[in-house]
Symmetry: C2
Subunit: 127 residues, 2 copies
DNA sequence: CTACTATTGATAATAGAATATCATTATCAA
DNA sequence: TTGATAATGATATTCTATTATCAATAGTAG
């Protein structure tokens, strides 16, 4: 009898499913709202726990924005950046990246990571 | 007798002076430490108040980084971005910007602002 | 100099996200 | 089916940056 450490539950299934359908990074609040449609009475703590587990697995990644609750999205999307709508607050993925980062920093600086955030109005809110 | 609304104090002078000498964005903690060298017993609340006032004046601007205390820097530096050292946590200015932002977003999205953050090791910490 | 009051500093209070607690429920190996 | 225990949900707690409070101090107009 090996130490069992993970059970299959409907709340986790629902959350995984939400991530699979998601076309943009979601906050815990958004996750809760989306998964609640399927699982009545779902609690925030459960969402946080599932997110924590999925993060550890590496199946999702955090998208952090200053002054905003962290969003999460599947980590198989490849390198990309984000756009946040000032009006609806939703965060969207934007394809592509910028190349000439290296030449921006002083010589001896070693770049290990970078993030690009765009702010403005999304397609829906700009009309 | 007009309503007087601002008095000249040594703590504010000291903070303004710190900003003038600063070559990188400073957090409230860093501001406190720096200004305390000149003003003994300086309190954090005073730093927060001065920062708030200078922000309103538009003389300084906030540099926000996820999970980090806000840094502040003089707003006359022109458009630029930042680099944070993973080791010493200091934030540095980096000259220049990236041009091709527009072409990253979907057609109907309206970009109003953007931020680029680089992470890595600064010149001092990378040796 | 003096009176008025903005400012200060110490600290309590707030706010928001994330974590811990714990009794109850539900999964699953045997 | 059943017993062991992982998972859940409600809620209390923590954490940390920032704001509010208030008595004491110090600019400054007259």
């Amino acid at each position: 009898m090996a130490t069992q450490s993970s059970r299959k539950t409907k709340q986790r299934d629902a959350l995984v499913s939400v991530f699979e359908r998601a076309e943009r990074p979601l906050s815990v609040g958004e996750l809760l709202a989306a998964a609640s449609k399927r699982i009545g009475g779902l609690g925030v703590a459960t969402v946080y726990r599932a997110v924590g587990a999925l993060l550890e697995e590496g199946w999702i990644e955090a998208v952090e924005i200053p002054g905003e609750p962290t969003r999460y999205e599947r980590s198989d999307k490849g390198h990309h950046h984000h756009f946040q709508c000032e009006k609806c607050d939703r965060v969207f993925d934007i394809a592509g990246c910028l190349e000439n980062l290296r030449k921006l920093v002083p010589p001896k600086f070693r770049i290990k990571d970078h993030s690009v955030m765009l702010y403005g109005l999304c397609a829906t809110c700009s009309r």
